[in-house]
Amino acid sequence: MNFDFSDEQKQMRDEARKFLAEKCPPKAVREVLDGKAPYDKELWKGLAEMGFLGITIPEQFGGAGAGHLELCVIAEEMGRANAPVPFSSTVYLAAEALLLAGSEAQKQKWLPKIASGEAIGTLALFEGKGNPSPKTIKLQASGGTLNGVKKPVPDGAIADFAVVAARTGSTVRDSDIALFLVDLKAGGVEAKPLTNIDPTRGQAELTFTNAKAEPLGAAGEGWSILTQVLDRAAVLLAFEQVGGSDRALEMGRDYALDRIAFGRPIGSFQAVKHMLADMYVSATLARSNCYYGAWALSTNAAELPEAAAAARISATQAFQHCSKNNIQVHGGMGFTWEFDCHMYYRRANATALTLGSLSYWEDQLIDRMRKKNAA
């Protein structure tokens, strides 16, 4: 048994960590947090040069042609660095959807641009409140055009193209939902940035008015493809969450060692030690669930739906837990804008919602476990 990443993959993680430590220090994250830029363009360019944007994209489309395990280790580092770039929407959602369901021409058009950093992509799924469900999709597709409104769309205001879930029939059946590919710069789509709890990763409202769209994948299979994309993204985002959890835990630990109160480091008080130990426990459970998700993703195993839901839940809980208690360990200073703690707290709570909230994934996990049990 080797339930671990290979030495080469670990080396890749180290390279990514080194690169991000240099190119994406908290100061760079703050540029975006403070609204001085919609995302870190320099970093985006650097990520393309490092080959990180096209890791899973086949070489024929300009990528590195590596596997999902390699992407998982990069994702972890993106989360650890709190990188203010549209990585998750472009790489986990748009690229994965293209790889799963795109035609040769669609792949040819967009994948090389993703790998080179020229195109930002996203998934336009949600229409206001609610979790992923065919019922919530009202945006209409007819005659090759889309009409309707999507929000929130992650990185929607800076995206060049979007995979859009649209209604092609009037029932609540999965088969009435189809996916479309829309060039957001070709007219017919208006993007409005929306204020959100984590400004380092934008959210937008996209209004489609007779926007030209081409089908992505077979008609009637939209929801099934979408479910697969969400499962894959769930594992990848979970690695970001694990990276963030570890960083929040480290920040708390370092502060507890450094900060003196009542004549001793606060890390010598059991109340603080136990809080940090519990953070470690959550982060470890999440990491282990994520490794299983990574295995399932990389082998396209039948266990992927269950593994993805478990990784998603566990990592969401861990990041929320670690980021909130990191602030608690820091005390008053943790609640200042100046300290970095809130950047992780914001990211933790934003990523907790971005692919559907915790309660949605809890529901999914039990469904999937029951299916496996019945099988």
């Binding site: 048994m1 080797n2 339930f3 671990d4 990443f5 290979s6 395990l69 835990l249 630990r253 507890a256 060692l257 001793r264 480091p265 890390g267 010598s268 059991q270 603080v272 030690k273 136990h274 940090l276 130990a277 519990d278 470690y280 426990v281 470890t284 459970l285 999440a286 282990s288 669930n289 490794y291 299983y292 990574a294 295995w295 990389s298 839901a309 478990a310 839940i313 566990s314 809980q317 309660s359 994934w361 809890e362 529901d363 996990l365 039990i366 476990m369 029951r370 049990n373």
Partner: protein
Amino acid sequence: MNFDDTPQEAAFRAEARAWISANAPKQYEEELRKSSLGRTVLKGANILEVAKAWQKKKADAGWACLHWPKEYGGRGASPIERVIWQQEEGPFGKLSGMFIIGHGMCGPTMMAYAGEEQKRKYLPPLASGEKIWCQLFSEPAGGSDVAGLRTRAEKKGDDWIINGQKIWTSGAHYSDYGILLTRTDPTVPKHKGLTMFFLDMKSPGVEVRPIKQASGQSDFNEVYFTDVKIPDSQRLGAVNDGWNVSLTTLMNERMSIGAGVATGFPELFEFCNSLMLEDGPAIEDRNVRSRLANYAVKASGLRYTSMRAISALSKGERPGPENSIGKLVAGSMVQEVAMYALDLQGAAGVLSGADDAEVAGKFQAMLLRAPGTRVEGGTDEIMRNIIAERVLGLPGDIRVDKDVPFNQIPTKGRT
């Protein structure tokens, strides 16, 4: 990343599987498989005898205490082979319960500190289950603070005379031998005046009394020592170096990974799959699903954490204190799972008789046993300290009694 055996591991697994299949006491397989969390009971058979017979059979064929050297009754197997054996032994592994302390803690301590002749005399029958050992550390005045123990050992000629009391000794009532931590010098700070021995539990002056636990059962004992004589040749380690000897014992406790900890989740999931609530199947209730999902990811998280540790073993790395999380997470989880399973039964959840209660009262029994799992083998709080100090590198507690002679530490009048 894969779950495959190396060719060498696969060969070992095939050999183990074939032997188990040909030799295991299959007539108890079903009962053993079903038994979970707490005592294993076999209908119409004395579990002690069944367990001893299985252990002896394993020993005779070279499958006992796999990681021990051959000359002491083991197989000289690698840590990963030991894990593979545990996986293959499956439900029959539950028969090893009464040997765990002897094999996991007493044996390694003897191996590290006993004389060669003693090792050859005592270890093989320990490995084969013919002799059972217990560990006599905890005392009424020394639980989490083991070094606060008070049982005295005083030198008299070539012997030591033992007086005092131990508590929470698992299996003392059926043990043949024990390792015993005593105080030999109360005038020095507490860690510096301890000495370790091993003794025959049938020695005159040893009295074993079962403890009636809060759960109503008796899994543990009090052991009283009145002028018990132990020859100096049965001392393990130097006089007053017992603390270091005990660390060997406790470190080995943490090496026993791979067996998996009980979380109660499989039982709860199965229960919810069949339970009907007023509005329909429990498993379709939103709240139930949410709770189940939360337990599910803890259980799977522990499972895969253990697999990561096994992978480390397979690569020849030593598992670290991070494996403390298993007991910490599972202990309180079992308790919560039990409370939730009762909650789902409404007022009837209070009934615990096998005929009236759901699943023959399994969850009620789990509820009543659970507080103990959070205390035994290191309390939740001790486990958190271990993680905080040894994994995260946080400072140890300020110990006000560290440099004080033991007999000057305040006791609030207790002796």
